[in-house]
Amino acid sequence: MEADALTDSRNLKVNDLLKDIRIDYGSLSKPVDDFVSSIRIAIDATPEDSKVTSELAPSFVEDIGADKVEFSFKKPNGFSLCGSYSTRSMAKPDACVDLLVHLPKVEWSTLQNEARKPVLVVFPAKKLDQFPGFSVRIIPSATSLFNVAKLSMSRNNVRSLSGDGVPQPTPTYNSSILEDMFLEENSELLKKTFSEWKELGDALILLKIWARQRSSIYVHDCLNGYLISVILSYLATHGKINKPLSALDIFRVTLNFIATSKLWERGLFFPPQSENRVSKEEKMQFRELFPVVICDSSTLVNLAFRMTSVGFHELQDEVSSTLKCMKLRDGGFEEVFMTKIDYPVKYDHCIRLHLKGKTAASMSGFCLDNECWRTCEQKVHSLLQQGLGDRAKSIRVVWRNTNEDWHVESGLSVFDREPLFIGISISSIENAFRTVDIGPDAENKIEALRFRKFWGEKSELRRFKDGRIAESTVWETQQWTKHLIMKQMIEYIFKRHLSLSSDDIVQLVDQLDFSLIYGDKDPISTSGNLLQAYEIFSKCLRQIEGIPLKVSSVQPLDSALRFTSVFPPEPHPVAYEKIDVRRLHKLMPSCIPTMEVMIQLEGSGNWPMDELAIEKTKSAFLLKIAENLQNIEGIPCTATEDNVDVFIGGYAFRLRILHERGLNLVKRDTGADPVRQVSFTDKMLFFRSQHASMINGLQGRFPTYAPVARLAKRWVAAHLFSGCLAEEAIELLVAHVFLTPLPLGVPCSRINGFLRFLRLLADYDWMFYPLIVDINNDFGRNDEKEINDNFMSSRKGYEQDRQNISSAMFLAAPYDKASEAWTTTSPNLPEQKRLAAYARSSANVLSKLVLQEHNDSVQWECLFRTPLNNYDAVILLHRDKLPYPRRLLFPSELNKGKHVARGKASTAFNPFLLPGDLKRSNEALKNKLMVDFEPTKCFMSGLQASEEFGTLKPWYDHIGGDAIGLTWTKHNSKKRERDEEEVETNPMEMLKAVGEMGKGFVRDIYLLKPPRLL
């Protein structure tokens, strides 16, 4: 039943998609006919036998190396429409009609026309509103112009290609000409197959949509629309698909065929039209020459002659992952048809090579058997494959040569203006981060020599632990820069073998790292210390004797203890048991962040029942513990009524007690007695501890998880969303990227993971779907049903009022199937929309940065620099009053809007300990160190607590920004609204009051937009 409903919904979606994409041929046919006839008139107007000389396109003629260029114009014999227009299977937004122009019989036999087949694209003078981008491609065809026998695969037709004076066969070149000769015949055949079989045409559209979403297979050395239709018609003529199948079924059968058929090894051969059958030898020859063979009915042309084996492997990989998606419970419609898989999101490690002016020189011309750019692709690919070995799962090298503004006149030399693009999928982090590559044994002379030749001075003979002596390469680096090893290798390879300079090699690996640097290094490098200190601390806690109930368990809560904190604390010289004067230095922060640690005590029945009393009792216990630590172990502590902070090993830990009473009820919450509700604090503590341990497990499974989570957190904060999206929620979102990567593989690099996080945030349909983060991979049907029920009840109010939903982002995790933990109140719907808009624009910028040339570091900063004019008012803070000024990414300035107020800095606070303080006694110095003091937090809580500022919504960065955005909002309750009508406060006055509240911290206030009238 349920499965049926799901497939039904998928079919519905597919049909809708087809309806959207299909083109109304009724209304298109008239403009097309008009257009074609006007082209015909234009050509007819050209006088017969007018001279065509090389002056019309001198560089082009020169670059293709033609020696005879005296032609006279002959009128084409005729025109015919072909391609997807003729088979009625065009797919929006492509609106391009192919027009074949039959070249008349002339003596052309010596012309090396092949190259690169310029095609004329004609756009209508008047744009057709109905079909944006409508154009006609004029493709010259040359039916029976040449002697077929001369173009057989073993013949040479390019004079300059010869080895030792013996002409070598030019199969690629020959195929290219044969393709032109049989273009018309084959397109007639396709027309015949596709007419009167609507489903087949629909399937073709589906396949095109599918392929178009995947940039890595919809390129010159892999699939194109024409080849897809050829494959479909092969399947149709060989009875692999039958009439009763639906379009989606044909789609599936075709994919299955591509992924698994044994026929690919033998080659696909259309039934020959004439009596000449393909001999065994010919088949053999085709298979030896081309990795993929699709021989047309003329038996002479391999239609897939451009396809490379790398391209075909890529195709098969994509197909099998698509088939996996189609087996998903919801049919995978989104994954198969709607998810864009472009290079930046597909590949972990992207590279752009600038080879401008370097190709033609290195080879003896643009066009030999193959074009020089293709040869170059192959060379780069084999270099990388040899150099990277098992570090790379797949390597794709693509060089696009079709500039949009290319003119035949400018010749071929401009084709290398675009950089060559390389995408690498990393096989596993373990391999990619390996520091030593062991090559062949020293005894194996030939291999060793080869290795030495490849690696040059980088290779060295080494003795390994197992006694083996072998050639090897060593890529030494620090722990926190291991993700740069591959970058280092690749740069070395290209410099050595292609003699490129560093500027020509743009690798997209570390461009985001600047946002995680503190001082001069990534603070994650000190995490080892941190964990040690934590271990010592937890041991101490468990050993404490002098308290009524012993500590039974200690669990970390803070994200720094699971490597996902943007800035894990650095050891502070003052936060030790004994201050070592030698460690004191000049620039010591006056503030220290705390890390929360949760403990549980032995069970006891003596706990009070009242919530407040429970909390007080907890405090009493904590104080006892603190006293004990301080007096017996000599570990300094400081406390407030609610918090106890302990200094150990240079860090400050904050203790929390989980009271077990509620726990049993949390575990089986469905049967819970409503009277004995779990106290809120304990519930949150429970969530947090569960979350902490699960995420800790996850980051162990996926080594890239932690850095991606840190980037994501940094991004959210940098765009002033700290108040909207909890850090734990961000961690869950990133976890989803890693746990549910389909239709892609698991991300293995920071940039890739971060981009996918942004796209998830931007594209997910939060209104209609819960996001299920199945961390331990153990959700069953019942769990999913439970989550769905919870989700539906959170969306109940939607029908009446679009704003009336709880959990605008519904995040279900194993410990929280009702999304109660992180996103119940924030983000609300407008906040979520804003987040998605920012994420989309950041994702677009990031994709562009990967693909195109703006490798200025400033451009990358753009991703983390939030435009301040998106707010109604902006508060700028005194940068030297921020507790951790080094965390600031960019100093904010504003010269727009109305300058409302200017504030002086307070002298009461300094982010660094003053030299005077250092002379004080150790005790006094410890008191000077402020634990978890965050002026921004104080400011914000003041702002939010006050009724006066009810119409102001603050946007801030809790990590360390110097700007706070303000927007005007409507009052929530109706009652307040009425009040407001009576007392309309002046925005200027309100902003001044805000400034007064942050005196000594606020530097400037600007008003950009006054509040809207409601």
Partner: protein, 345 residues
């Protein structure tokens, strides 16, 4: 009807705004007067303080430049190569210049990304629908008005002399909230004593009430249910909970598989056999089994290591038993609490 009224409201509001804005100007005049007074005071105060603060402020100055250096380090290499000995002033000027250049650049970039953003926003706005267009116009006119007004910028004091707001207040609060462990302990002890007294008082009142009227008020006794084992600290169920459990179990008697408790599954994976924990459920014959064992004085046998598997194989039960064995038979029957098998061994 409704539409009309809302339109009227709008107009009314606009009027209100206009009135307000005229008020603004007046306010500002007042403000100015105020400010001059305040300034005078400030100057005097400052003068008094300067003597004390001189030394400190010099230090602060030094630090400022250090902080700025910090920025430099973070933001790029533009402080690199600068002579350390060069005067602070020089340095400051330079960095400022560079900063300006930088921010100029950034503005351009921002506009790029912003354009992008606007496109997106435009879409969502369309979705948000309706009357914004008109209000937008109003905006513009208002904005112009505001720009046209040339009022001088309001000056905020540093707040150092004033404990009621701002940075000084936050710092003071921070220090006040940390009076030392002793003090805090005292406060909490006081609270708990008061709390206990209150409880005691309430209890006495109840008793008094009972004695007076001759009626006994029967209250469901909430506290002091055994929730944890005193020795091991392992959570154990109370009677009420057992009842809940039993009810739940009755509802769905079937379907409790070996992996009812998820951690058990993991345990099984870890250890290869599920004899770490015993489950006793109260609705099938396992109870009988244990009863029989106890009656026959075979409890000691029960507590040997080999038992779980023994029971398992002997009765061919499809379910193992999650933790439990207390030494007395009665408590077993009544509470059905759980203990990990490890503890018994």
């Amino acid at each position: 009807m409704k539409k009309k009224s809302s339109g009227q409201k709008k107009r009314d509001k606009e009027k209100g705004q206009q009135v307000d804005s005229s008020d603004v100007i007046q306010f500002h005049i007042e403000d100015k007067a105020d400010k001059t007074k305040k300034k005078g005071k400030l100057v005097r105060k400052k003068k008094r303080n300067t003597g004390q603060n001189e030394a400190e402020s010099a230090q602060i100055d030094g630090l400022h430049s250090e902080v700025k250096e910090g920025f430099g380090e973070q933001n790029g290499a533009y402080t690199e190569g600068e002579n350390k000995d060069s005067k602070l002033n020089k340095k400051r000027r330079k960095t400022e210049k560079l900063k300006k250049a930088r921010s100029g650049k950034s503005v351009e970039l921002d506009s790029i990304s912003e354009d992008d953003f606007k496109e997106e926003k435009g879409k969502s706005r369309k979705a948000c629908k309706k009357d914004r267009v008109t209000s937008g116009k109003e905006h513009k006119s208002q904005e112009k008005k505001i720009e046209a007004e040339q009022i001088e910028v309001y000056e905020l004091s540093s707040g150092d002399e004033d404990y009621s707001r701002g940075m000084k207040k936050w710092i003071t609060e921070y220090h006040q909230s940390r009076p030392g462990l002793k003090m805090l302990q005292q406060q909490i002890d006081d609270f708990i004593t008061a709390y206990e007294e209150k409880e005691e008082q309430a209890r006495r009142e109840r008793e008094a009430l009972a004695a007076e009227g001759g009626w006994t008020v029967v209250i469901h006794h909430k506290g002091r249910k055994k929730t944890t084992d005193t020795e091991t600290g392992v959570t154990v169920g109370s009677v009420a909970q057992a009842v809940v459990l039993e009810n739940m179990a009755k509802k769905k008697n079937k379907g409790v598989g070996l992996d009812f408790y998820r951690f058990q599954k993991r345990e099984v994976q870890k250890n290869g056999m599920p004899n770490v924990l015993l489950i006793i459920s109260f609705f099938s014959y396992e109870v009988l089994l244990v009863d029989i064992l106890i009656e026959r004085n075979m409890l000691s046998f029960l507590l040997t290591k080999s038992l779980p598997r023994l029971i398992f194989s002997y009765f061919n039960l499809e379910m193992l038993i999650l933790g439990y064995c207390e030494t007395s038979k009665s408590s077993l029957k009544s509470t059905g609490s759980r203990v990990t098998w490890d503890h018994i061994i």
